[in-house]
């Protein structure tokens, strides 16, 4: 049985050194992710402050970098409250349901290793004389695991709101469910475009396929990336899609009744999602750790990870600037964007890519095929727009005539 595509696990697997290496990788990934989340919280607060004429945390440590640590210690010593009408078991379970998926998503992301077309992210561990990948696991289902985990994360939020026995959390969780389910379709369709290029679900294979500036960003013609970026912002409940915890309307949304360390877990998982989802974007569209390699051996060893971190940082910054810039969408705008724009667009673009692929295989003229398809898609888009307008007009007419639905 092949556990995963990692060359480490391809032969005989024993306690030494294979399992030991895996354990070390798991612990390392855990620590790295926690540290990254701490840094991300600080980064977001600092950058957001800079963008809004403030200073931000600056007292705990140099530039306030230990602020998250101080907050964490404070959370631990706060009183842990649970409403009388809460469902105790589910109430306690919910924070973990949103934290664990965020961790699991991180395990499939390639963090380094050389991707130059010849060795697919494989590195030889010094001291162990074993070849392995710089990711905790490389399962066959790779990117499906990411999609599955983002679906499981909905349960954390849904159950948190439901089990609180309080009205605002319930409203927040109902919104969360509708929102996350709506945008999952768009995410899936955008990922399909990437899978069509790669022909594999494994994240390692996806990155390997992009080696040498062959990034999916332009091989899928940009649109899937834009759809994916918008849809995962909604999936993470980040502004401008933070209706789930809209402070002005719902107090805190699904975590209104949570306090102390349970609240901290939600907070942590939210920021962890930002880090892991940025890493997923980098993996899917920006070639992960692949990039130019130069210099002495030690530099060549760390350069891929540096490229990965650099790309990651760009997206972390982008998410913070989303938050600082964009006003929150209204609920109907949110649904319109998801169902009437992103899903048709992603679906149409997927068909376009499929047709270009078929054209390439059957030696059709790619330009004629592309032009015909774009004409077809534009026609479809116009039809959809017409349908939406007609239904709007009809509803307005009904409202004027006094018909209530």
């Amino acid at each position: 049985m092949i556990l995963a595509l990692d060359p480490l696990l391809s032969g005989d697997v024993g306690w030494w050194p294979e399992v030991t290496i895996v354990v070390i990788k798991v612990v390392l990934a855990f620590v790295v992710l926690l540290l990254a989340v701490m840094a991300m919280v600080w980064f977001e607060r600092k950058v957001h402050a800079d963008m809004t004429n403030r200073i931000g945390p600056n007292l705990a440590g140099p530039f306030g970098i230990f602020q998250t640590l101080a907050d964490g210690v404070k959370f631990f010593f706060k009183e842990d409250l649970m409403p009388n009408r809460a469902d105790p078991l589910v109430f306690r379970l919910a924070p973990y349901l949103s934290l664990v998926p965020a961790f699991i998503t991180f395990t499939v992301i390639p963090l380094g290793g050389r991707f130059d077309g010849k060795n697919a992210g494989e590195i030889t561990l010094p001291g162990f004389q074993k070849v392995t990948l710089l990711q905790v696991a490389d399962p066959h289902i790779g990117i499906l695991l990411v999609l599955a985990m983002s679906s499981v994360a909905v349960y954390g939020i849904l159950l948190a709101g439901w089990s609180s026995g309080s009205k605002y959390p319930l409203l927040g969780s109902v919104r969360a469910t509708a929102q996350m389910i709506s945008y999952e379709a768009a995410i899936g369709l955008a990922v399909l475009a990437v899978l069509l290029r790669t022909g594999s679900l494994s994240t390692n294979a996806i990155v390997d396929h992009q080696a040498g500036w062959n990034w999916n960003l332009w091989t899928t013609l940009f649109v899937p990336f834009v759809v994916f970026l918008i849809a995962i912002t909604a999936e993470m409940n980040r502004p401008p899609f933070d209706l789930v915890e809209a402070e002005q309307e719902l107090v805190g949304g699904f975590h209104t009744e949570y306090s102390s360390i349970r609240f901290a877990l939600f907070f942590l998982s939210e920021f962890m999602n930002v880090v892991t989802m940025s890493a997923i974007i980098v993996t899917l569209f920006f070639g992960g750790p692949s990039g130019p390699s130069f210099g002495p051996a030690w530099l060549r060893a760390i350069l891929p990870t540096a490229w990965f971190l650099g790309k990651l940082l760009v997206f972390l910054f982008l998410f913070v600037s989303f938050r600082a810039t964009l006003p929150r969408l209204r609920y109907d705008q949110l649904m319109d964007l998801g169902w009437k724009l992103l899903i048709p667009l992603a679906l149409g673009w997927f068909l376009l890519l499929v047709a270009l692929r078929v054209a390439a295989d059957s030696d059709w003229n790619p330009f004629a095929t592309g032009a015909a398809l774009i004409a077809g898609l534009a026609g479809g888009g116009l039809l959809l727009r017409k349908a939406v307008r007609t239904s709007h007009a009809r509803r307005a007419a009904e409202a004027e005539a006094g018909v209530t639905l």
């Binding site: 809004t52 004429n53 200073i55 600056n58 007292l59 810039t325 964009l326």
Partner: protein, 238 residues
């Protein structure tokens, strides 16, 4: 540009704080620990802070133990008991004085109704706000803590954080507002002297004397205001 124009604004702010449309608004407030970078924002004229119990210029207490403040308090945080003055050694001018005076700051909402109710300007609110006590007993300020000292300044308790000059504004709200209820001082000093200060000038740099034009303008406004008030009151009686 639409949405994208917004991004240009935030990115510009990120790289340069000090744009014409705004500068850093945060003050580096460090609760007295920060040395030179410890800044505080100037407080508004009518700020409602910690209470003080005032004294007359001769050292007599202004409080007469009438309990009007306790009666009007919506949070019911004031507890007053009056007692008869000792004729040979009176605490306050007149018959009675405030024998017990307690304010529970866990309940106080700083609405200033007690200050409005007080007939002798005995209780006023200062601009002091940094008094984070750490237990419930400390939250109850008794008369010992509330009465101003012999120099006419409020007494500083161990957990209170003050900067030089913070203790000067002990009756600011009263001295920023006209007796008629107008939002600016109308040139009539309607307050008594205080221990250590005498009769004090209006708060917030408002001039004692006003020009005739200003007075006429204010009188007109005040007149209108009174008409409105009367008709409203009449309506209430019907």
């Amino acid at each position: 540009m639409g949405y994208l124009g917004g991004f240009a604004v935030t990115i510009r702010k990120f790289f340069r704080h000090d744009t014409p449309s705004g500068r850093v608004v945060t003050k580096e407030y460090r609760a007295g620990q920060g040395g030179a970078s410890d800044q505080k924002r100037p407080k508004p004229q009518r700020m409602h802070g910690r209470h003080v119990l005032n004294r007359y210029e001769d050292g007599m207490e202004k409080c007469i133990g009438c309990e009007l403040c306790a009666a009007v308090c919506p949070a019911r945080c004031i507890h007053v008991r009056g007692a008869d003055n000792d004729p040979d050694d009176p605490t306050s001018p007149g018959e009675r004085f405030g024998f017990v005076y307690e304010i529970n700051y866990l309940r106080c909402i700083h609405c200033d109704l007690c200050v409005e109710a007080c007939p002798t300007e005995a209780i006023t609110e200062s601009k002091l706000f940094e008094f984070s006590f750490t237990n419930r007993a400390d939250a109850i300020y008794t008369k010992t803590e509330l009465v101003v000292g012999d120099d006419g300044r409020p007494q500083q308790l161990p957990w209170e954080d003050w900067r030089p000059g913070d203790d000067e504004h002990t009756s600011a709200w009263m001295r920023a507002t006209a007796p008629a209820g107008d939002d600016s001082f109308e040139g009539i000093v309607a307050w008594a002297g205080e221990l250590g200060y005498g009769v004090r000038a209006p708060e917030g740099g408002q001039p004692l004397e006003r020009t005739e034009a200003e007075a006429a303008a204010h009188a007109g406004q005040g007149h209108d205001g009174h008409d409105g008030h009367d008709s409203h009151g009449g309506g209430g009686h019907h």
